[in-house]
């Protein structure tokens, strides 16, 4: 388990990185956190001729509030994002989801953007992206900039996915408005292992006590994290009660986007069957958290 021979550069600027990428295209691999890439390299299932290490590119380590949301540079480590007061305040769902990513040691290297760029079906950060939306800033040869909606980017069949000469510079998540309910839950076979299924929910409760703006996303049930439109519809304008949560959760089973697959950790049937349970748990947890917040706000 040693990688194939490759050449390597650690450019200091985006321009330099793009130049290398333009030169090597399919034969290059971008190395950021490396926590998913290096295992593939040592298994020789990924065999680049050139590795472009972007860890030294200046100016990619920012987390900043921008345009009503959070912009996170390509070299921001998951652990730094998890610990950031800014993230905890304006996008707590993201901070919570990151706690479920691998292990603390891995999060010290793994990046937020990298997790999105890999579009893994069971990853936590893309699940947050699927739930609350957002966008990615992508740059290609000749400094050609584009923006991709996160949801479209995660869909392998869409034109928004990454091209061989492109680099993701930044991801952006919309701010979670104060007063929204949110939760992230997962079922794993073992602590700090992969999710079998993960669920992120966000919703608001209007003054009449009815659910609005519900966004529900699940990982592990399709080739990418998906929005569960059927659940969202079943929640819309309904009272935020346990009964409604239970009923709406059941809609997940037959959601048109559900296409779970079997792997060594779980059957497809399991993934389908457990999803409503997780959705329901997430909804209950989200509401309870919101109520606790309101309670503590009053005191």
């Amino acid at each position: 388990m040693k990688p194939v021979d490759f050449d390597y550069a650690a450019p200091k600027s985006v321009a330099e990185a793009l130049e290398l990428l333009a030169a090597w295209r399919h034969e290059a691999k971008i190395l950021a956190g490396g926590q998913s890439l290096v295992p593939l390299l040592v298994a020789r299932s990924v065999r680049p001729r050139f590795v472009i290490d972007i860890n030294r590119v200046a100016g990619l380590g920012y987390i900043e509030e921008r345009d009503g949301g959070l912009a996170i540079g390509a070299m921001v480590r998951q652990a730094d994002c998890e610990a950031s007061p800014l993230v905890r305040r304006s996008c707590p769902l993201l901070a919570e989801a990151i706690r479920w990513v691998a292990t603390p040691q891995v999060r010290n290297r793994g990046t937020v953007v990298g997790s999105l760029a890999q579009r893994n079906a069971i990853s936590q950060i893309p699940t947050v992206g699927a739930a609350i939306g957002g966008r990615l800033k992508i740059v290609g040869s000749g400094n050609r900039m584009r923006t991709a909606e996160t949801e479209a980017f995660l869909d392998a069949s869409s034109a928004a996915t990454l091209q061989p000469d492109e680099l993701v510079l930044e991801c952006w998540f919309p701010e979670q408005k104060p007063g929204t309910a949110w939760a992230f839950v997962e079922v794993q076979r073992r602590l700090a292992h992969y999710a079998l299924v993960g669920v992120a929910v966000v919703f608001a409760i209007d003054p009449a006590g009815l659910i609005t703006d519900a966004r529900v996303a699940a990982s592990g049930v399709a080739d990418r994290p998906i929005r569960l439109g059927s659940v969202e519809q079943a929640l819309s304008s309904r009272p935020a009660t346990r009964e409604v949560f239970a009923e709406a959760s059941r809609a997940a089973v037959n959601d048109p986007l559900m296409a779970p697959r079997e792997d060594v950790h779980a059957t497809a049937e399991y993934r389908r069957a457990v999803t409503p349970t997780l959705v329901e748990r997430a909804l209950i947890q989200a509401k309870a958290r919101l109520e606790a917040e309101i309670q503590s706000g009053r005191q």
Partner: protein, 795 residues
Amino acid sequence: MNTTPGAPADGAKTPYFGRGIRRQEDRRLLLGRGRYVADIKLPGQAEMAVVRSPFAHARIRAIRVRSARAHPGVYCVITGRDIAETLKPLPALDLQPSAKPAFSRVLAGDVVRYVGEAIAAVVAVDRYTAEDAAELVEVDYEPLPALLSLEAALAPGAIHLYPDFGTNVVQTFAQEAGDVDQALATADRVYREKFSIHRYTGIPMETRGVLADADPNTGTVTLWTSTQFPHRVRDCVTEVLGWPAGRLRVIAPDVGGGFGVKEAIYGEEVLAPLLATRLGRPVRWIEDRAEHFVASCHGREQDHEVVAAVRHDGVITALESVCATNIGAAFATFSNAPGYYVSAMIRGPYRIPHYRSKVLSVVTNKTPLNVYRGAGHPQAVFCMERLLDRIADDLGLDRAEIRLRNMLTPAELPADRAVTLGARPNSRVIYDSGDYPRCLRQAVALLDYPHFRREQLAARNAGRYLGIGLSFYVEATAFGPYEFSELWVDARGAITLFTGSSPHGQGTATTHAQLVADELGVKVDAITVVHGDTGVVKEGIGTWGSRSGAVGGTAARLAAVKLKEAARDLARRLLPARDEELEWTEGRIHLRSDSQRGYSLAELAAASAGGGRADAPSPGLLKAEVRFQVPGVAYAYAAHIAIVEVEIATGRVLVRRYGVAHDCGRVINPRIVGGQIVGGVAQGIGGTILEELRYDADGRMLTRGLMDYLMPSAADIPPIELVHLETPTPHNPYGIKGAGEGGMTGAPGALVGAIEDALKPFGVRINDDGPFTPSRVLALVGKAARPQRAPKASA
């Protein structure tokens, strides 16, 4: 000889026996100064990589190595054809005379029979280059159908892995006690059950590794290898190579866990000495984790059928057991042993006077199977305990009560079980000592069984599913044939013990030093323990089968006894004095009447040098060596009790509490024994809930890394409550039975019992040992239709 372990020999103040002192081993390991095979580096050292079969079953049409040989940095490439003439097959050490010759080869010949089977070896400047060149070895395969399950291999019309044999059954062993047919014919009830045991294994944190270095002057070779039995490796490797045994020195340095995986002889242990000799440079091979999953032995996989004759009161009068072990593609060193232990020990602590057993070893296209912690005991215990649960439920008996009704009482011990431990000579099973019912009662009390039933009911009403499971094992431990030790005291008073025990985490240096220190009346840290080197330890059997404390430890202490006798002789002559005038105090022998007149061991060692005489040993040593031959194996036993919660919503199984009441004979170091038991239980939890070596339908392994094969992590292991009973075994003077494997042995039976108990409201019956993954559990309770099982073989 002082045979009371509680008391120190000859007047030393505090005995070490029975005290949980700190380990001698720890400091250097904690400082990062351990020395595992991969840590050793010699000048000019080259690295080996092995080309392995990607097919479960294929004919090799051709191998082309030219481009691999030409790759820069490559020293040599060899294939099976290069060595077929000169090397014997790898040995199997547990065969019946009638066994078929399904031997493993160092490198495959014309046929490969499992994914991962070694085909060629490449030696290069470093491992990176060796892997580059290994990819350049071109092999033309003609794939053949793969046979994976026991069911497929035993089916009529199945292909035969070895066509010459005309069968896939490569060994059969049978034995009988009493009259089973008569008992079955007159039974109140007859129960028939089938049980299956899945494939999982030890997964030591250190993979295997070897390093060989040839001495150009003498032609002798030193082989460092991560093994549990270096002397056995020496004997077997030289046999395979056709070398005199004296040409090879084998060293087991620090070994990062073994669990039976390293109680086998492997092809790389032959290749490295061979290639180091040919190349005239040291050759190292460090197994990587992906290789480990296919190239190191697996464990466990068996199918069982049992038929029991039972009285209305739950007493089992007869048992018939047929067990088939899926040994994989060829014999590993101990592929048959799990079957033997099933055959000998499945009745556990239960009387069952009439008994018949047949065990089969069956070949399939999987990695060869070897013993794994407990060998066949965990499988046997699982089947027996499930059977008892089934009968208890059926008769409306309490699960503890049915066990007590069948259990041998102390008055019935020693108990001749009228069977033997398979191929081992003089291995009639005679349970030695203990109090099984008391042990069971203690375990039941540990987790407050009656209280639990109330708690369980309350939880069920709240939608939570708790279950309790019990298991009881009797386990053959302290295997012979013998262990060797040699003890030196020099003129500076330095004490060195050379032992044939070869530990890999058991703290053997500490426990052996405790025993010697007590006997010599010295401080434990005055003793240096040397092990794992055939160059300096003359003989040895090694560390496996819960034997090192009992057999190696006894040998160590007996060497101290013998050394003291020699010292006493010398003192008698030097003083002079009669024997009865002498006594020992804290490592010093002196006149009873005048403690000033006497000698320390160091002084006696100096005196033995003979005052500078040319023919005297230099610099003066007192020496004693012992081969402690065991008169019979010992029988440790324990009751395990587990409480689990099954989360019906997600299918997760959480072990909430765990209790073990055990008797491993006299305990030398309770801290170390506790560590062995807790570690064993953790492996049992892993095997039952998380771990499975899975193949796809074509025989490719799906679990080739530690993200796919799930071992338990810290949060999976609950607090484990222990009660130690100590009944000495009569088989060694210090009464030690052995504790290395028991934690694992009792766990699957208790855990599966608990899972089934938790799922009782769903009418679930469980006849296999898992793993109980979330998918499996939801399938059991009918929430997700299809159970997750290994895909059926395509045969």
